[in-house]
Amino acid sequence: MAANFIIAEPFMGAVPVTQTDSFDVTAGSHLKHRLGLQVRAFDNQTGSLNLGAGVFQYCAASGAATSAGRGDWVQIVGRSAIPVDAANSESRFPLGVAAGNLSRSDVAGWVQIQGLVDYGKCTDSAVVAGNALYVCAGTTGLLLSNSVNGNQVFGAVAFTSASSSASRAASYQLNYPRMLGSTQAF
């Protein structure tokens, strides 16, 4: 990612949000932070591309079969981050964008839930700035601008438009997103 978000809460050290932590509670290696903790982070990159500040939530990964890579859209179910899937679109769990590789259930890391994202993923279809976003029916972890009945996300927009040749990279603006659950296409 171009963004270089570093956590800037007084009760924590300066942790990069890309960092993930392996843990094994039974073997005595506990989580570094409380699951569900929400923190603010600042983008440390210089120049006009600086994204400002954002909010991130500490989550456990779900499992190898449902692992989330950096930039994937995830659903926060309890304290676990699971890549969004069209099959989950009827649920109303919060959404976010994985800031690190949440690869296995013994890994925890950060999910962005507010602010600007320049490392998000989209489909090969064009994304239109400001328009509503929908969970992709065909591929987990991706959103798109093309309307999909019942899959609309509330609280997230593309900040800038991206063409279909943008290598699935998109910039989003997050406002504590969640599934809207409306079956209308609007």
Partner: protein, 189 residues
Amino acid sequence: MAANFIVADPIIGVPVPVSQTYTFNATAGSPPPFPLGLQVQAVDNQSGSSNLGAGRFQFCQGYSTASAVSSAGQWVQVRGNTAWLLLHAQSSSRFPVGVAAGPLSNTNVCGWVQVQGMADYVRGNGVDLAAGNPLYIIAATAGVLQTVASAGAQVFGAAAPNSAALALSNGSWTVQLNYPGLIGLSALI
């Protein structure tokens, strides 16, 4: 505003009134005092039963000329890190929405936008406001919402806790904010 929200967040350090705005010029070495997009907690310092408790505010840059915020209490759409005066013409977009706590009068001005909690300095439109009902962007006046339905212009995540009848210039409508945004429904619900 009657409320006297003061930022009370260790990430900021000194207490800052949310009505304060700042002029900046990044190229001349005077950048914004806080990172744009930063959300902070603030508490209402007014005494008595009107105290609104705590709320959350986001640091934003103003927008230019016709779409700039002229006074506190106007509704804005937060596009990127910039607060645009909320217009009916923008109702099809899905950017977050909030209430300006100070006059974000130009692109070289930054300040706070309330996005969560109670706000008692919001501008009404001269039409009776119904408590708990959905809010809609007014077609005729920028930066103002109403409870009279307007197809496609509904805001989700904001409601008036009390009914009121207010003039446009009143600026004392009380609204409860919960990270609002435009929902984009074309139907009247």
